[in-house]
Amino acid sequence: MDISFKQVSYIYQPNSPFEHQALKEIDFSIKSGTFVAIVGHTGSGKSTLIQHLNGLIRPTKGEINIGDFTLKANEKTANIKDLRRQVGVVFQYPEHQLFEETIEKDIGFGPKNFGVSDEEIKQRIPQVLEAVNLSPELLSRSPFDLSGGQMRRVAIAGVLAMEPRVLVLDEPTAGLDPKGQQEIMDMFKELHTRKQLTTILVTHSMEDALKYADYVIILDHGQKYMEGTPAEVFVQKEALQRVQLDMPEIIQFIQSFEQRFGLTLRYKGQSIEGLAQEINQLLKEEVRADG
């Protein structure tokens, strides 16, 4: 689904001593099927922004279009339940929202709530279990007997079971170990491609944004600060530093190397192995040229 924000502002607790403007005149549009990373430091408005995407909050000003749905200030959105079925949100630490007696019931809870038949749910469960890499033998167990990483997979399976068209991921790998992080992100990327989803990833990790996203939006103090492809955005060292963000490590290294050696390397999506080969080559050529 195409998503667009037009001059969207959001103010928490307006007209109170705690009034806080979390979003300020945000404008952007995302084409259906894009994998977007929303990046910004803590408090930049990322979480507020994504709460709009399934209508948990409505803009204080401005307008949001998600497919055929419209969200506006002071105006109830028609078919909000439909919107919520199509926009699946994986919140931070989604395992904290598990509550059912069995894993099967927990995964089925979302779709059931949206009126999906028991039969249909039974068909979907094996698919989502496979997607999140959990064994069907676990279905009758309590979700609370699982490890943290497995609980997160169950919670994600519950969102996937609604078969959303848009997947919103708020720091989905927080607290997982590196192996768990990579497995979960690879899974989302695979789903994104296979099901032609529109995916919105909120992350602190420039590395993940670089690796997985087609498009990056950077927020700062509730405003859109930069947008573009990772290769466009992440090479702008000074601009990133101004909002306390780092470049991804590989780009950082490449720029420092170029500066120090006066040679050209350039980031072009190469692997670490590829980069090592290039450096080796460059330095050896240098030696030959000097000799």
Binding site: H41, T42, A174, H204, F257
Partner: protein
């Protein structure tokens, strides 16, 4: 004085008799003034170590000493006076209705004088860049902001030992670096011990020593620099070395032999520069 601040002697622990050991015969000691990083994958037993140190749980076998005191149900309050902990989930550690009250809580419990209290609250909030939020309600802060307030609360009581149990997991990269730097500064200035529990190997670079946990046992105890050469082994136990270390290892494979394992970008560039000059 360079006595052992924390000592584990053959410690084993499990949550109940039917479950496997979470820690299995673990022994190590941490000296006064040392920064030790404990790393391991989820479920490797690293957080259990933190809970055992300040007596949230007690070992089934073996003994634990904190600053010479054996940790038991009777001594636990004395032990906790010396240990400041910041946990992974900031939502579980708030008591105050404002940020200021929350940081004040630990100080009030210790009967710190009002003027000193105000000084410490301001200083510790400034250290974590949360001064602007002093009158905010903690539950309305974002995850990272909450965690910074929790860290401020611990900094304010100035304990001998600070344990950060994956406390930086939810912060943005700059915030993470700044918190670690801040905690390190406090450690230097106050002669305290630091234990950072993490699975992010970028966070262990400044530690004096690293204890790597795997399935409830100590996999290795070494320096960060030496550990970064163990890329394959670490990957097998669910850990990942920093980018610079990976690149260095790849360069080594390419007959571009480095003289030592670099722990940051500058060291790697220096190595390459030397290589470049010597040829």
């Amino acid at each position: 004085m360079n006595s052992d601040q924390v000592e584990f002697r053959n410690v084993s622990f499990r949550y109940n008799d039917e479950q496997p050991w979470v820690l299995n015969n673990v022994s190590f000691s941490i000296k006064s003034d040392e920064w030790v990083a404990i790393i391991g994958h989820n479920g490797s037993g690293k957080s259990t170590i933190a809970k055992l140190i300040n007596g949230l749980i007690f070992p089934d076998q073996g003994e634990i000493f904190v600053n010479g005191i054996k940790v038991t149900a009777d001594t636990v309050w004395d032990v906790r006076k010396q240990v400041g902990m910041v946990f992974q989930n900031p939502d579980n550690q708030f008591v105050g209705t404002t940020v200021k009250d929350d940081v004040a809580f630990g100080l009030e419990n210790r009967g710190v004088e009002r003027s000193e209290m105000i000084k410490r609250i301001n200083a510790s909030l400034a250290a974590v860049r949360m001064s602007d939020y002093i009158m905010h309600e903690p539950h309305r802060l974002s995850g990272g902001q909450k965690q910074r307030v929790a860290i401020a609360g611990v900094l304010a009581v100035q304990p001998h030992l600070i344990i950060l149990d994956e406390a930086t997991a939810m912060l943005d990269p700059k915030g993470r670096t700044e918190i670690l730097t801040t905690v390190y500064d406090v450690k230097q200035n106050h002669q305290l011990n630091l234990i950072t529990i993490t699975h992010d190997l970028n966070e262990i670079i400044h530690a004096d020593r690293v204890i790597v946990m795997n399935n409830g046992e100590i996999w290795t105890e070494t320096s960060p620099r030496a550990l970064f050469m163990e890329e394959e082994g670490l990957r097998e136990i669910g850990l990942d070395i920093p980018f610079i270390a990976k690149l260095a290892n790849e360069l080594n494979k390419q007959s571009l032999t480095l003289t030592k394992q670099p722990i940051n970008q500058k060291e790697l560039l220096d190595e390459l520069w030397t290589f470049h000059l010597n040829k």
